[in-house]
């Protein structure tokens, strides 16, 4: 048995894998959130397209000289999928182990220091997994987008989707769960990687809390912006422009 197998077989090894993959997924979330906020940037005067659509095109065209159209995008997607699958599989293995190891609950269960966030990591994680699948089928493939999905028209697709109250609700609830998951996960990963201690714990927990709120609110801003009318309906002129440029 190789050293990596031996490492992955133990609970501590698995936790370290979960922490590292979790950290990578967090970095992706930051980039994704910043990209989303381009919805508020309005129309690009040079192309006459929404800045959000320009950004979406940039993601596809980036590095096309080397890897071809959307080459870099697909490489990133594959890398992200691998990291995501490792995170989910490892955590599911750990959770099943933990469920089996506990001796059942006491007549009176009294929690002294665990939080709602720490106790909902597993169930919240599963909900997020379902949400990610829905989200990809919703905005990437358009399979579950029932309100006029047009490939490449990111701004218009988002606008149309978030005119429906239950879609807004799904996204907002998912982001609250994501915030809880991040709050516990972000400080926990320092503990798991052996970088936490009594002096660093409080600042780390505060930082995790701030980052969780920023990420959750940052993501929620887009659906709420479209639903509330802060982000205006796409003009037909701009959407045709996008279609012509594709």
């Amino acid at each position: 048995m190789g050293p990596i197998c031996e490492f992955y077989k133990t609970t501590v090894g698995k936790k370290i894998v979960a922490a590292v993959t979790g950290a990578l997924l967090f970095l992706f979330l930051v980039a994704h959130m910043v990209g989303n906020l381009k919805a508020f940037a309005g129309i690009d005067p040079a192309t006459g397209m929404y800045k959000l659509d320009v950004y979406a095109r940039f993601l596809r065209e980036f590095g096309h000289m080397v890897l071809g159209y959307s080459g870099v995008l697909w490489l990133t997607r594959i890398g992200l999928l691998v990291v995501f699958v490792i995170h989910v599989v490892t955590v599911i293995q750990l959770t099943l182990r933990n469920r089996a190891a506990g001796g059942g609950s006491y007549a009176k269960n009294r929690y002294l220091s665990s939080t709602v966030a720490s106790r909902t990591m597993a169930i919240g994680g599963l909900i997020l997994l379902a949400y990610v699948i829905y989200h990809i089928l919703h905005f990437t493939t358009g399979t579950l987008h029932f309100h006029g999905f047009k490939h490449g028209h990111v701004y218009a697709n988002a606008y149309n989707a978030f005119q429906v109250w239950w879609v807004v609700l799904i996204y907002c609830v998912a982001m609250v769960i994501l915030g809880l998951h991040l709050y516990h996960g972000l400080w926990s990963l320092f503990q798991t990687l052996g970088l936490d201690g009594p002096r660093t714990n409080r600042p780390l927990r505060c930082l995790a809390g701030v980052l969780a709120v920023v990420i959750a609110l940052g993501f929620m801003a887009v659906p709420l912006g479209f639903a509330s009318g802060i982000l205006p309906a796409p003009t037909t002129q701009v959407t045709t422009q996008t279609a012509l440029l594709r």
Binding site: T11, N98, A100, A101, A107, R110, S118, S188, T192
Partner: protein
């Protein structure tokens, strides 16, 4: 004091247990929790009934034998206190008290409130020692150790191995126990030569005993009668990472001329 007790009764590890209700009418507030159980057992013996089985030894809070979950808290409601050092004055007249054994898959119930904690012994056997010739005690100052390191090692070495950390953990994890034992040796120079082998062996043993993993709830450090911090879990994780990196770099087998 009048108390209503609900005590877990279980014949052995293969039978199912249940709570039995006992009424106590004359509990002195000066009794320790275990003395209160002694009084109950004397009464049961006089009545010709089976006394309640529970673990105890020193009754001074240093041996780690007592193992009662009192109202859902390992060692009861007082912080940094073992069940034997808990006194009845911490309860009110007319209280209802639930008394249960440690609950974890790796700690099977032997009888009533007694659980088998030999899994801890096997974790220690896997690496919780240093290999040196024994004999007369060495001169204390032969190996200089900084005060900070000595204090830190002592904080970890305060573990009495009672298992309250496992009992309090929703995952039935022995990470705090194992971490305390790994840490107090890893911090000191005497533990250095075997540190990599030790942390791997003890974690592997911990896993194979059926303990769960850590999810950083922090319940263990609150339940610990010695107040051992989860900082040591962090320290053990770091030891484990270092040990694995070292084994990747280490030469295997005979070192030949290059």
């Amino acid at each position: 004091m009048k108390l209503t007790l609900y005590i877990w009764r279980q014949k052995n590890s293969s039978t199912k247990g249940s709570f039995e209700r006992f009424q106590m009418d004359d509990v002195s507030p000066d009794m320790s929790f275990l003395e209160m159980l002694d009084v109950l057992n004397e009464k049961l013996l006089v009545e010709g009934k089976e006394p309640v089985a529970f673990d105890h030894d020193c009754r001074e809070g240093i041996c780690g034998a007592c193992s009662l979950v009192i109202n859902g808290q390992a060692h009861g409601p007082m912080e940094r206190t073992t069940a034997c050092q808990l006194h009845m004055r911490k309860f009110n007249d007319g209280d209802t008290i639930y008394i249960e054994p440690w609950r974890a898959k790796a700690f099977p119930v032997v009888k009533d409130l007694i659980v088998d904690r030999s899994a801890f012994d096997r974790i220690i056997q896997a690496g919780g020692y240093i290999s040196v010739p024994t004999g007369s005690a060495p001169e204390a100052n032969n190996i200089p150790i900084s005060k900070d390191d000595a204090d830190l090692a002592m904080d970890a070495a305060a573990c009495i191995g009672c298992g309250a950390c496992v009992a309090a953990c929703p995952n039935g994890s022995a990470m705090l126990f194992t971490a305390a034992k790994v840490s107090h040796l890893a911090i000191l120079p005497q533990g250095a030569p075997e540190r990599h082998r030790r942390v791997k062996a003890m974690i592997e043993r911990m896993d194979s005993e059926g303990f769960g993993g850590c999810t950083n709830h922090g319940e263990c450090q609150k339940a610990c009668p010695k107040g051992i911090s989860i900082k040591f879990i962090s320290l053990m994780n770091r030891e484990y990472i270092k040990a694995n990196l070292a084994s990747l770099a280490r030469d295997k087998g005979e070192v030949t001329a290059q």
